[in-house]
Subunit: 335 residues, 2 copies
């Protein structure tokens, strides 16, 4: 049986939001498997802001996607064929499947896949039990060390990572302030139990935040970067922890860097820490996070939602939804 | 015996470098001691950049000096009279003596004094065994955790704190790059054993640093703040530690804040930490640092120098020397 794979390759480096014409959707016939290889049928793609960064020609924590190469993306696929003893036909796997309908791979190095038990619907697993949930867990719990009664601020709070971070902070008995764009997202955050919600699209967040964060800020889980950080630094408490998870406000386009906060000095006055982290470092020990998050989901302590687009041809526009803020919850594409 | 005390009080809040006319030098007769009080003859004043910040009307880690109040300053004095059982006549004491010739105090709270053994000349004790040495020790050793072979960058490296930090980094078998202003300071740093020295007054440090820091930067001990941090962030290695010790480039004048680095994103890519700290937090456990530093001084592993001005009337201009870079080593004033 000959298998036709449809895949998106990078044609030129995008500027700002991506255009379909930055890529090319090509169809290829897949060869027969060689020893050690597996063939996956890709089921769902995960869309994360970091994917946009991989399209820039800059050194990062992973090499940039090169012109002519398949666009890198996490996702879930099912093993159709296997000549690799680590994978059985029918296994559900998580890893870098890429923007394509099938994935033929040696499953080595960064292309290794994790075989996952089918506990929950796949989109849910890609969300709260995927990299987004694990990012939130390790960033907030391990680095932030939230203490009962502390004030935790989360930006991008209605996003896949932010909403889990905010809800874990509630579970840890913190007072949680969430910032999100638009009434719909803010209402959803209130449903999630977030104590105070600021709608940055309909209020001046720089004026609102100091009024709302009356007791200062102990932990800032930052998904957006940019100007907001300066406002937050004026409000941090002694020994505050600023956790840099992402910088969506820059569009993840390195040509569009905002100037930084003029008051880093606040970190000295308050003996505070600012720390960047990447989920990659925590994947080897993700089991603990997944088990705890799964328990919280079953106990209804963590609400989640997925925004599921459909069709391989919609990959580029689905990526943009993360940066326009159109996505309602974890951005996923069903192939 | 009536004692006349000469003291500098704050008359108006300075802008940028201080002027004599921002202060007033007044003479007062001191009253007799009451129960619990001590009278010190002030011997040497310590000048530190943070003193300039206390003159701003902004909340900080210590309350601002108010208009009409004595200017706050660390220093050493000798006990002339005591009605406090914790202090004996003749004791040499370290604490906030202020810009004055005598100090009559209850020695409570922030005005407590530490009785110090007379191991070394007083200016040396105020330097390497004083807050500057302790700052360098705890910042670099406890927070920076330098490992053999790592590259440590120190800005303000010829300053009192920077030079000790740079030399401790050498003791810890690191490769040390120091940045200082002017040939004289750079030559002195080379004598201290610093591996690479950049003279920011005679070269473009933003161009030189990337050439010299070929293996990247693992620890940045930052005394200057400002633009340099952005250049450094492009050069940090995985798990780098950026230690914010001070921001002399701002002149410690809150009306003169430089915009921050546009590339804080580097902290995410490199999973790096930026941390502010204050020596105040470490004073209770300063004994360990003092003993270790004293040993290194006796072994000639740490060179030090003091810049000693004289005369109480020169306090304001002596403070400015820290910001003009005129000081050669730890800035001290002999009363």
């Amino acid at each position: 049986m000959e298998i036709k794979n449809k895949k998106w390759i990078l044609k030129e480096r995008p500027q700002g939001l991506v255009k379909d014409s930055d890529f090319e959707l090509v169809t290829e016939s897949l060869p027969k498997l060689e020893e050690g290889e597996i063939l996956l049928e890709n089921l769902y793609l995960s869309f994360d802001p970091t994917q946009r960064m991989w399209l820039n020609d800059l050194p990062g924590y992973l090499p940039p996607v090169q012109i002519g190469e398949l666009v890198r993306s996490g996702g879930m696929g099912r093993v159709l064929e296997s000549k690799n003893p680590d994978y059985q036909i029918g296994d559900l796997t998580f890893g870098f499947v890429g923007w394509q309908t099938y994935c033929l791979t040696k499953a080595e190095g960064n292309d290794r896949f994790r075989v996952v038990p089918e506990l929950l619907p796949i989109p849910t697993m890609l969300n709260v039990l995927g990299t987004t949930g694990i990012t939130a867990y390790y960033g907030l719990v391990e680095l932030g060390k939230p203490q009962p009664g502390e004030t935790v601020l989360v930006s991008g709070a209605a996003g896949a990572t932010g909403s889990v971070a905010a809800q874990i902070a509630k579970i840890k008995d913190c007072h949680v302030i969430g910032i999100a764009g638009g009434k719909e997202k803010c209402n959803w955050l209130k449903k999630c139990g977030v104590d105070e919600v600021i709608d940055y699209k309909n209020t001046n967040v720089h004026e609102e935040l100091p009024k709302i964060a009356k007791n200062g800020i102990d932990i800032y889980f930052d998904n957006v970067g940019g100007e907001l950080l300066e406002t937050v630094l004026y409000l941090i408490n002694l020994n505050a922890r600023v956790l840099l998870c992402g910088g969506i406000s820059s569009g993840y386009d390195s040509r569009n860097l905002p100037s930084g906060p003029s008051n880093l000095f606040a970190l000295i006055i308050q003996r505070a820490t600012m720390q960047g982290f990447l989920v990659l470092d925590y994947l080897p020990k993700s089991q603990k996070a997944m088990e705890e998050i799964a328990t919280w989901i079953m106990e209804n302590k963590i609400l989640h939602r997925e925004d599921i687009q459909e069709g391989i041809e919609n990959c580029p526009q689905t990526l943009n939804r993360l940066f326009t803020g159109e996505n309602k919850g974890k951005q996923i594409l069903k192939i």
